[in-house]
């Protein structure tokens, strides 16, 4: 039965920069989703991937990354906002696949040093997600003032983030289940 297979929902840490404040956010999200029954997850740190920059798209596919995207039922992107935009390397990495994303859910966590929780980077990513064939959810993760959000052990200091993240993940899991059912059982006309 398809429902017995766990959902596979990787978390993509979307920046390679030194001192990145998205890293504790990604760790936090990974821990929160790993607590749920019926979910498998892994962290994909784009710093550890090595895609050439002299070409793009499917011409530079990495077989392991593609296999992970193919297996995924949904994705969580943890993305810092850089001058209102998304990191170029994240776009470069995501663009190496296309069909692998079709009819899969995606939730986005924006991270910012200021008070807007990466809302602008999330909005900028939405059309990209759509073209990749991913299905966006209507809950986001908004992590404002990132430098003061976590203690030295990467524990979130504001408990409100636990409740917000719970809502975000519940919606993502619901969408992942529905889309898996559709992919496996609902034929196109």
């Amino acid at each position: 039965m398809t429902t017995l297979r766990p959902l596979f929902i990787p978390v993509i840490l979307g920046t390679p920069r030194q001192g990145r404040m998205s890293e504790p956010v990604a760790t936090f999200i990974l821990e929160e989703i790993a607590k749920r029954d019926g979910i498998e997850t892994t962290l994909i740190d784009i710093r550890t991937l090595s895609f050439p920059v002299t070409d793009a798209g499917e011409a530079i596919k990495d077989s392991q990354f593609s296999a992970t995207m193919m297996r995924a039922d949904a994705l969580i992107l943890v993305v810092p906002e850089y001058n209102h935009g998304y990191p170029g390397l994240l776009k470069h990495v995501l663009d190496t696949n296309l069909k692998e994303y079709i009819h899969k859910a995606v939730g986005i966590c924006g991270v910012s040093a200021g008070g807007f929780g990466g809302t602008r980077v999330i909005e900028n990513l939405l059309p990209v997600m759509r073209e990749l064939g991913l299905v966006t959810i209507f809950w986001d993760g908004n992590f404002s003032n990132a430098r003061t959000l976590f203690d030295t052990a990467s524990k979130v200091l504001d408990p409100a983030y636990l409740k917000r993240t719970d809502k975000f993940l519940k919606e993502l899991v619901w969408m992942a289940k529905v889309l898996r059912y559709g992919r496996e059982n609902v034929p196109r006309e």
Binding site: H103, E184, R188
Partner: protein, 61 residues
């Protein structure tokens, strides 16, 4: 079309569900002969196995 030529899952042998088509514009640069002239790109079928979840793609037929 899809009903008469089902993809078979390479992992478990089940018939796969054909649930999407995706137009790939980048592939048009690599395989210009495969471009659908009405759509402007290379059309791919996306299939998923209802038994094991394996995903497969092929050029639209």
């Amino acid at each position: 079309m899809s009903g008469t030529n089902k993809m078979i899952c390479p992992d478990c042998g089940s018939e796969m569900n054909y649930h999407a088509e995706k137009l790939d514009y980048t592939a048009a640069c690599i395989e210009p002969e495969a471009v659908d002239p009405d759509l402007g790109g290379v059309l791919a079928e996306v299939h998923t196995c209802p038994r094991c979840g394996k995903m497969g793609t092929r050029r639209a037929q």
